[in-house]
Symmetry: C2
Subunit: 195 residues, 2 copies
């Protein structure tokens, strides 16, 4: 069968909605067909099995959550500072808020990965590479804070996102201010050492 | 039917294993009967429905993860310092590591709470009260760091736990050292202000 890239993407976007709404057990090829409003059997023409679908959903969520390069370049046009780091991390949080389905789907995939070693191995590889990529970006952009600081920022924002997705009353809308405080307290002002 | 408290606890512990292993969709009253090796129908004598079971699982995970008061009192016998906070947070992480099923079950419940408003409301209430309780404990014990610092510590350790449960290669066993660094960098040495 000929495959259409736009349709493939539409199927993956439908799968993300199913995963976010129904959880991983609700994710079947048929449920994705229904969500995407395509004939039954379409999804199985694009993905040989559920495991394949899960791996490609993972890639698609990352694609959807990747910042626009032009926007990022614009943000980086000012001198590096803890405030700039806070601005960038606030954008990470805002991307979550604007695309909760992608993040919920990623959380579902993480839990599914605990049960499926093959998916788990891939998730480990991708998340580890993602953190290294964050550290490299931070250093290359000359942003303040060493490797450990970047890891700590990542962990705190990750914790915020999980809470704001699943128990939003805990932080009750204070994530932005908490990100500012986190950067102010954790990052050096002169970019040469620790706070 | 007469209910036996020990059997109720055994059923909840079985439910936690089912939830951790199979995910929330795998959690049925019958699956819990099977896991607990009790006659079919036992679970439905203890829990009127699945929603009731979910709420009581939540309470049981909290019970299982609560530190032993004697151990906690012993840990608090030394003068307050960032190192003492790190020691206590390392214990939180160790409790997760010793009872991964409870934490995985809690993550499953969080995602189920997004889908079930009644459960979600209860999770919001409990997690919010839990954070306030942490802040109160920190202050009453005279530990260094203000309210915002405690929230930031909580978020970072929460992020660590989610990663160590679902993608352990990311931190690759460094959580303990990261907790030390987090406390060293974020907490004041003299307990009077910010780091």
């Amino acid at each position: 069968m000929r495959q259409n890239p736009a349709r493939r993407t539409a199927l993956l976007d439908a799968a993300i909605e199913v995963l976010a709404r129904e959880g991983s057990r609700g994710l079947t090829l048929r449920a994705v067909d229904a969500e995407a409003q395509v004939p039954v059997g379409t999804c199985s023409n694009y993905f040989s099995n559920r495991a394949q679908l899960l791996l490609q959903i993972m890639e698609r969520t990352r694609e959807r959550l990747t910042p626009d390069p032009a926007e990022l370049a614009e943000a980086l046009a000012v001198p590096p500072s803890p405030e700039l780091v806070a601005f960038l991390l606030r954008q990470v949080h805002q991307r979550m808020d604007a695309d909760r389905s992608s993040y919920l789907a990623m959380l579902e995939l993480r839990l599914e990965g605990v049960r499926r070693p093959e998916l788990g191995a891939e998730l480990n590889r991708i998340h580890r590479a993602g953190l290294e990529e964050n550290i490299r970006f931070h250093r290359d952009a000359g942003l303040p804070g060493d490797r450990v600081a970047v890891v700590l920022l990542y962990l705190a924002v990750h914790g915020m996102i999980v809470d704001d997705l699943t128990v939003p009353d805990v932080l009750a809308g204070s994530a932005g201010e908490l990100i500012d405080e986190l950067c102010r307290r954790l990052l050096p002002r002169d970019a040469t050492g620790n706070a």
